[in-house]
Symmetry: C2
Subunit: 427 residues, 2 copies
């Protein structure tokens, strides 16, 4: 066995034999296994692909996974994976090691392996697919999660490690879920300031997973709808309103500890320092919304459209005054306004760390654009998301939304250098 073999409990030094098989495709007959294996893992030349400058580079290893409290990037490629029917516990471990190895490289602006897109044997398929050659790291983060199905799979022996709260999300009023857009054993969230860099990451991780896991559903997101640093401008969703004004900021460790990071007291020890990711694929009825009067749009949201200020007065960052009424006794902020029913004051103090993206998936047969919000939120426990979602499912905005996809993932803490994402699960 090569010193770089990454199965078992040894440190991660390269791609596993199965990962290398993925790169050439088990279906291709494995004619060049020896060649690519030796060349890909043994080479010592680092092949950075960032010729135009590296841009922002986020460390991959750390106490928490990057891509959660990291300042939110402009673009997203997300994918949920199902584990292969015959996958074993060792397959899962080797996959996580391979994904860690490749992600630690790609997030630094490097190719997926040391030989990369063009440095290997010309008689083998390249390890890296090459479309990010010459592109900067572009602030790429890659974040991994585990779905409920992983713990229910007897072949994996993880039943005892299952966080009690990691269950498929309950039904919510008005949703119209499509099975093909829900669930997944594993997830990868790739965020970057260049969509080609984010796409490249998911594509190469999918390739490495060949024979062990395959994509169940995926989504490209093009416009962040969150604000996670004080100096980021608040972006707008496809209803034209600012979104994320009251989001948790990346530089607010107190709020992160209180609302986002799972603690050992919350559930399994292996998840401490991790989080839970709730995913909702929300189709927005934009053509219908666009016919709503401005005053009514603002009533539905509870803020004005231009500035994003609460209807109770002030500017964007003024606190909402739910008690304010006009002379006739009508509340300035409607009792069913989105900003009110999503507010911590009406949800037991719960705050979600949101990281959503706008999307458009072509159009439907009537000519309406199939556009919406790919909602991602991180919270310390799933019940926090459920509480808020139950509340907003009955707000004035809900009439203009259709939730078609849903998933929940446990997000392990960050990997220590030399270890791999999720290692604590197998300790």
């Amino acid at each position: 066995m090569s010193e770089d073999e990454a199965t078992g409990d040894g440190p991660v030094k390269g791609l596993s034999r199965r990962g290398l098989l993925g790169l050439i495709g088990a279906g291709a007959g494995g004619l060049v296994v020896g060649g690519v294996g030796g060349a890909a893992v043994g080479a010592s030349v680092a092949s950075a692909h960032a010729q135009d400058g590296t841009g922002t580079v986020h460390p991959f290893y750390g106490a928490h996974q990057a891509g959660i409290a990291t300042p939110v990037q402009e673009h997203l490629q997300f994918a949920a994976f199902d584990l292969a029917d015959d996958a074993t516990r060792d397959d899962l471990i080797s996959l996580l090691k391979d994904w860690t190895y490749a992600s630690a490289r790609m997030t630094q602006g490097l190719d997926v392996s040391a030989t990369g897109a063009v440095g290997g044997s010309p008689q083998a398929p390249p390890d890296d697919t090459g479309e990010a050659l010459g592109l900067a790291a572009a602030a790429l983060t890659i974040t991994f999660g585990f779905g409920p199905g992983l713990f229910a799979n007897p072949a994996l022996g993880l039943a005892a490690q299952r966080p009690p709260q990691l269950q498929d999300l309950p039904p919510f009023v008005g949703e119209q879920l499509e099975a093909g857009l829900c669930g997944g054993d594993l997830c990868i969230q790739a965020c970057a300031d260049d969509p080609q860099v984010a796409f490249h990451a998911v594509r190469n991780l999918s390739r490495i997973a060949f024979g062990r896991a395959r994509i169940r559903w995926s989504q490209l997101g093009f416009g962040r709808t969150s604000k996670t640093t004080a100096d980021q401008s608040t972006p707008r969703n496809l209803f034209g309103f600012k979104d994320g004004t009251a989001n948790i900021l990346a530089d607010d460790p107190h709020a992160l500890d209180q609302h986002v990071w799972a603690s050992a007291a919350d559930g399994p020890v292996w998840l401490a320092g991790g989080s839970y990711l709730a995913v909702r694929n929300i189709r927005q009825r934009i053509e219908t919304w666009d016919r709503v009067r401005l005053v009514e749009q603002e009533q539905i949201i509870g803020r004005d459209k231009g500035e994003g200020a609460p209807l109770s007065g002030g500017t964007e960052f003024t606190a909402l005054d739910f008690g304010k009424k006009d002379a006739a006794g009508t509340p300035a902020i409607d009792v069913k306004a989105h900003a009110r029913l999503a507010h911590p004051e009406f949800n037991g103090g719960v705050r979600l760390l949101r990281r959503g993206y706008n999307f458009v998936n072509g159009n439907d047969l009537t000519g309406d654009l199939s556009a919406g919000l790919f909602f991602l939120s991180y919270q310390r426990t799933p019940d926090r998301f459920i509480r808020v979602q139950r509340s907003v499912a009955k707000d004035l905005l809900a009439e203009y939304l259709v939730h078609v996809g849903s998933a929940i993932f446990a997000i392990p803490p960050g990997a220590a250098q030399g270890s791999y994402v999720g290692a604590g699960l197998f300790a």
Copy 2:
């Protein structure tokens, strides 16, 4: 009738009554027609949405439409439209005037009308959908085209203006076209350095078209695969190869005149200064490609993967030497290599101005990413594209591609200030 009514042959001063109806939705019953009509068109306050600086701004009016020889932007939102079954010639004229009015504003970083997203009556739906508020113009260009169906429609009286070459593209070897991804009476190509700005443009133009035309198909593109200025780096397609090395450059007026701009001698006088746009939705079999040995990938393309240099030697911009052979008499560039069969030398000197974009539309049921190249090329006459496509349909690369969408559009010249795109068609 308002002075801003844009039907008939008068100058374009604002949105037509039908365009304003589109903004509120004819289906909504028109309760507030008077309100929005008066407020939207009569207001004199310009509402620029570019609060963060305007970025690059391209002029909308000119001899040629912007978005052809314009330095290619990073993002694309494309849409093909079908005219409503009951649309009249006046409807088409008013639609083109409305689209011109709105596009001339949006490309300058302004809202779609003077009252825009938040400046109108609170009792009316806003004219602008608002998601670009605060965003820069981002080099937005909006380019319009006319499909063959427009000239075959007896209600429009355009049969005599039909360019003889404007016919649906002929069948090509190996294509698997889907009707829902082909054709269209009209097209809009919105390119920008911010995808939300490009999306905003198409969304608002679709809204204005309500009742007169509706989207037939659409596509978001995220990575340019063309190079149109000498200082732009050559981007890579999803096969990991540089794409567009030999493209026509925006600052090469001789090549543009020779290969791109239609002349009065080519066909109808109204099209002089315009062009023809060929559109191909090309699904790439990326997972299969990724299993091909590097040497074979390079043989298929005819260039090396890292540098993009011809296999006949040199660097990226070295001319291809098709006569070069090795000692055994094997051509350095395979006779069926893509670079050879796409080369002007084997296509009667024809060069296409390409403006393609990478895309990903989720994944298929087997877990493969539904990714590919949204190919856009501009040429002086359609037969030039057909000649090149017939050639490359039989190259080594074709095995890894599936053409699923196809369309051809006549691209009118640019509009003069005070006139509208396509005015020459109705003269």
